[in-house]
């Protein structure tokens, strides 16, 4: 019985792994192929099956005038928008979360939990509901089709995540820790940045990871709120999907656009497996 269970378990894990990893392997192998290796017979293994070439990758950095597709600019646009919006969201979100976790607010019937819910409720409605208000808002203040405009919109989208994660984290930090800091001569601001913040790094990392992931993969708003001036990576990659761009360049662009997330995942995974995330406070 136990053997059967083990067998089924590992079979499932292996199948699932193949399901996840196979497209990546296919994309990696395709990105190093040229016209001939893609269109002749089925090939998998470089050097053995086909002669690898960097042509697919070179196209990505060449300007369109020289027959390339140039994803460098959208790439850095995306990096800038995601990182800036995540950073601002984390800073504002952490401050908001600390206040919500430690102080009691009363405004009419509104209490702390209502405010926390208000933050997360921003993410409950489908994004398309927000598209028209955002569009009108950005065009009114003249930030349509600009990096700053996108940063503003992404802060709106990412801050609820940061608040939600950090409220939960701060609620698990004993209140006595703040109180001890106050008794030991810290004013409330010092208690926050000298004691609470250094002990909240695991929470900040998790919140930051979520912000970066959600910011990086967003296609919808990047598509709606930009035209010609600014282009973000997801929009650019989707735009490549035409008969003009060859398979090998498409594969390369797909790989390079998920690369940052893979790096984030590996870093956080290492951090998680060390137990640092849970063990800082007990």
């Amino acid at each position: 019985m136990e053997k059967l269970y083990k067998f089924l378990k590992y079979t499932f894990i292996i199948l699932w792994t193949v399901f996840i990893v196979a497209p990546f392997l296919w994309a990696i192998s395709t990105s190093f192929k040229d016209f001939q290796s893609v269109n002749s017979k089925v090939t998998y293994i470089p050097w053995l099956d086909f002669e690898p070439t960097l042509e697919g990758w070179r196209v990505l950095v060449k300007s369109p005038a020289r027959g390339g597709v140039d994803i460098v600019e959208p790439y850095f646009n995306s990096l800038f928008v995601t990182c800036t919006a995540s950073l601002i969201s984390i800073v504002l979100g952490t401050l908001a979360a600390y206040a919500l976790s430690r102080f009691t607010f009363k405004a009419g019937f509104v209490r702390n939990n209502d405010i926390t819910f208000f933050f997360i409720s921003q993410r409950i409605m489908p994004p398309i509901v927000l598209s028209i208000p955002f569009f009108i808002f950005l065009s009114t203040i003249g930030l349509l089709d600009s990096l700053i405009g996108l940063v503003v919109v992404y802060i709106v989208l990412l801050m609820p995540i940061a608040v939600w994660i950090m409220v939960d984290f701060f609620n698990r930090v004993p209140k006595e820790l703040d109180e001890t800091a106050l008794i030991d001569g810290c004013n409330p601001y010092q208690a926050f940045y000298k004691v609470v913040l250094p002990n909240s790094i695991p929470g900040l990392i998790v919140a930051g990871m979520f912000c970066i992931i959600f910011g990086w993969i967003d296609f919808f708003f990047a598509f709606i709120l930009t035209f010609t001036e600014v282009q973000l990576l997801p929009v650019k990659v989707v735009a490549l999907n035409s008969s003009i761009t060859p398979w090998w360049s498409l594969s390369a662009s797909a790989l390079i656009s998920v690369a940052p997330l893979i790096i984030v995942a590996f870093v956080v995974e290492r951090y998680l497996s060390k137990g640092n995330l849970s063990g800082a406070l007990k």
């Binding site: 006595e176 800091a181 002990n199 800082a280 007990k282």
Partner: protein, 359 residues
């Protein structure tokens, strides 16, 4: 120049956490707050620390209105029942944290920390991480941090309650030593606990707190000998004092279906109904005594606690040796009538074996 509280009341919801508490704490003394859980002990200490502001009442220290001074300027130190240290700092950094906040010179800091570490017995642990320490060691670090600070008011909120039995005994001994040697003359030490034994051992001035109200104030010995009310008698004894309803009839005391001789210190009491109190340790197994049935027998350490029943009367007996009993077994016990207390119908003490000092 003392720490004086007048009529301090704190009522955040529909229940009193502190209800008209007044006190006058003098420098160089040890005060223990004795009360059950939720009796307002922590609220009391937090009010003195400044973490809570009372709804009404005055609090003054060294002739300053203490309520107007924020926590971080009050120069108090507090040790919690949970082991609260700064997890991101090591032992040494933890202890110097309050000193650095107060911008004390490097040399002085070094001296103070060394002294504090020596007092709590943690020399050599300076570079350890907090998470690597045992519970007892963590609590020592918290205590060292409070001592090194040389605060004028030192608050300890049930500091031993989360430790295991053996460590508690050991630390209690050390606390006594630290409190008598390690503290300067102008420190006020306030120690809260649920454990009457701790109160007796620390032997300071006691304040018995219940539902936010001060029930009795006085030296530990007096609380033990003359608990002013039934409630104080319950709170200040572990196991709680046995209370039996009965009547005095000239030379006899009769409970439910037991009759014993009235002790000499009861001779001035009028013949009527009383609540008689007797400590669990003042009832002895005796073949000549009354027969009771065992409901529960528990062994703790080197003592045996018997929960006995006869009719509606229930008593707890403390035997100072380990003995095995079967449940529902019958045993005979005898009350030491010379240690009987009498409380009147209003639950106030009217006669005690040590003589009642008040009316």
């Amino acid at each position: 120049m003392n720490l004086i509280g007048e009529n301090i009341t704190y009522k955040p919801d529909d229940q009193f956490h502190l209800n008209g508490v007044s006190f006058n704490f003098k420098k160089g003394n040890l005060y223990t707050i004795l009360g059950r859980t939720l009796s307002g002990k922590t609220t009391f200490l937090k009010t003195i620390a400044g973490l809570l502001n009372p709804d009404s009442g005055n609090l003054s220290f060294e002739d300053n209105d203490f309520i107007k001074i924020p926590v971080w300027e009050r120069n108090v130190a507090m040790v919690y029942q949970q082991f609260i240290n700064y997890p991101h700092l090591n032992v040494y950094e933890n202890i110097i944290f309050p000193l650095k906040q107060r911008k004390i010179g490097e040399d002085q800091i070094k001296k103070d920390v060394e002294e504090a570490l020596k007092t709590v017995g943690l020399v050599g642990f300076e570079n350890r991480k907090i998470q690597e320490l045992s519970g007892g060691q963590q609590q020592r670090v918290a205590l060292a941090r409070s001592l090194a600070k040389k605060a004028k008011i030192l608050l300890l909120d049930e500091p031993l309650v989360n430790l295991d039995y053996k460590l508690r005994e050991q630390l209690r001994e050390e606390f006594k030593r630290i409190f008598t040697q390690g503290l300067s003359e102008d420190t006020i030490l306030i120690y809260s606990t649920t454990d009457p034994q701790e109160v007796m051992e620390l032997n300071g001035e006691v304040i018995v707190l219940d539902e936010g109200k001060v029930l009795q104030k006085g030296p530990a010995k007096e609380i033990f000998e003359n608990p002013r009310t039934l409630k104080v008698a319950e709170i200040s004894n572990d196991p709680p004092m046995n209370i039996l309803r009965g009547t005095k009839n000239s030379e006899k005391l009769s409970f439910e279906n037991i009759s014993i001789n009235s002790p000499s210190h009861f001779k001035n009491l009028s013949d009527q109904g009383y609540n008689f109190g007797i400590r669990a340790s003042e009832i002895k197994l005796d073949d000549q005594g009354e027969e009771f049935e065992i409901e529960l027998a528990e062994i703790s350490g080197s003592e045996t606690l018997l929960h006995l029943k006869k009719g509606d009367s229930k008593v707890i007996v403390l035997i100072e040796e380990v003995m095995n009993f079967k449940i529902h077994e019958k045993v005979k016990i005898k009350f030491n009538e010379n240690k009987l207390y009498a409380f009147d119908q209003n639950e106030e003490l009217v006669s005690s074996p040590y003589g009642v000092s008040h009316g």
